[in-house]
Amino acid sequence: MTIQSWRLRDRYYRLLGSKCEDCGDEFFPPVYRCRGCGSERVKDKQMPQTGKIITYTKLHETLPGFEAQAPFFLALVRLENGAKVLTQLVDSPDELVKTGAKVRATVRRARVDGESGQITYGYKFIVAS
């Protein structure tokens, strides 16, 4: 996980996704080819930092490395450019988490590796109250 998260740090810290140079569609996570028009002319593009919740769930059982955060909300967010991001929600009280709620991006501690103690950081979203 260590080298992987270093390699992906721009993706994880800045929400760096892809923009298609032919049709203009934008994607996160980044793509190898445009899912809209099939073009392979895609380049890096930072995603907008705000969007709306499409759907969400509250996890009661987690993956190793996320135990301390449980239970937590996981949401699928549609950003203002149409790209979709799967993300954790933080600092968001239960009563504000609902379909259609506005959210904004932030950077937080993502996961603590049990064996090495390595901490990785990445994007999370907050419901705008």
Partner: protein
């Protein structure tokens, strides 16, 4: 392409559950020996092993050669086929294709998984590998969480109630009561589902298939090799594996199970059969919402109606199209890489009148649908009573 007919000459399976005293090779050998014993004059020319996480679960890879050696079949080609929870159905598809096109006369296909040796969070970690490590595991999404997101979306978009969603697990448990190899042989009500503990809101414990150990195997033969087999075979009429955008969030319409839609259509076309002809269907209901969306993708229910139709009795025992006749993933059990092979063995049992109390009277045609990921891969096969 040669057009030999392909048959399941014989089959074997273990009960699903806690096999504390048996290893992954023990289970694979047990199911394989049963299948081989059913057609003693047939020598398989190839072995295909469907398995998802033997490396994590048992510290073991290289299952093809391992099983060939253990069965005294060293020398023949043998492979492990991995496609997450559709590993079993995918391995079968490969074996069927090789026999169908004339490359080989016979194949042993085995699905095996050992899940109960792992701690719950290790199982979650292993299952999450069916999805993107870089963007799904990274945010802490378990496999159940992705299905929880999907379940909420389905319920909100299609106005599906909690009771309706519970109806497929209820059918599964009712059918498993008389199924000898099933993991949970106890009937439940919708109320039990909706009061079970929360896993990934709105999905509760009884919306989710359990963790278990098991293996299931078949011996596939062409017409030439079939002369060495006993009577009561099942004909494999058609099959197809399809894939879709890998992750749920990469799809324009998350409620459209495209891989299943394409695989089902292709398999039925190859079989030359109208879906109306099917007498039973084994559906991949790893989560209640997945069962509902699968029934919709295959066209048996209209969009948004899968769970509602199940509640109305459309898929119950005694209906025109009973599903999950031995309990489905929820009650028969879901040893992930083996599940597709369990479905296929169950179709074979139905079409050769070996289903005991679970027999669908006069069943002539059956189909099985086996998903990997959240419908990232789907393997569908169609079977008929051998004439």
């Amino acid at each position: 392409m040669a057009k030999s007919k392909v048959y399941i000459a014989s089959a074997g399976l273990t009960k699903i559950g806690d096999h504390w005293g048996k290893s992954l090779p023990d289970l694979a050998v047990e199911a394989s020996r049963m299948a081989l014993k059913g057609a003693p004059r047939v020598k398989p020319q190839q072995i295909l092993v469907g398995n998802m996480f033997s490396a994590i679960g048992a510290g073991q890879e290289h299952l093809g050669a391992l099983l060939a050696s253990a069965l005294g079949l060293s020398g023949i080609p043998a492979f492990k086929v991995e496609a997450a929870c559709s590993s079993g159905g995918s391995a079968f598809n490969l074996g069927y294709s090789l026999v169908k096109c004339g490359a080989i006369d016979s194949a042993l296909v085995v699905g095996v998984e050992k899940m109960r040796d792992l701690e719950p969070e290790e199982v979650s970690q292993a299952l999450s590998m069916a999805e993107s490590a870089e963007y799904t595991q990274f945010v802490g999404a378990t496999f159940a969480a992705l299905n929880g997101l999907l379940a909420r979306y389905y319920m909100e978009q299609m106005n599906v109630s909690r009771d309706e969603l519970s109806s497929i697990p209820v059918i599964d448990h009712a059918n498993a009561v008389t199924a000898e190899h099933a993991q949970f042989r106890k009937a439940i009500t919708a109320d039990v589902v909706s009061r079970s503990s929360m896993i990934a809101d709105p999905l509760r414990l009884f919306d989710c298939a359990p963790v278990g150990d098991g293996a299931a195997a078949v011996l596939l033969v062409n017409e030439k090799a079939a002369s060495g087999a006993r009577k009561a075979m099942t004909e494999v009429l058609g099959g197809q594996v399809s894939t879709a955008e890998f992750s749920l969030y990469e799809r324009d319409d998350m409620l459209d199970f495209k891989a299943t839609r394409h695989a089902f259509r292709g398999a039925m076309q190859r079989a030359g059969l109208s879906p109306k002809k099917l007498d039973l269907l084994e559906v991949h209901d790893a989560f209640s919402v997945v069962g509902a969306l699968s029934l919709e993708a295959m066209g048996f229910s209209k969009k948004g109606m899968g769970a509602r139709d199940a509640k109305e009795g459309k898929y119950s025992r005694g209906s025109d199209l009973p599903i999950n006749t031995f309990g489905g993933l929820k009650a028969r059990g879901h040893p992930v890489g083996a599940t597709g092979m369990y479905q296929i063995v169950e179709a074979h049992m139905q079409l050769t009148d070996r289903a005991g109390e679970n027999q669908v009277e006069g069943a002539r045609y059956a189909a099985t649908q086996n998903i990997g990921g959240v419908d990232s891969t789907s393997a569908v096969h169609v079977f008929g009573r051998a004439s």
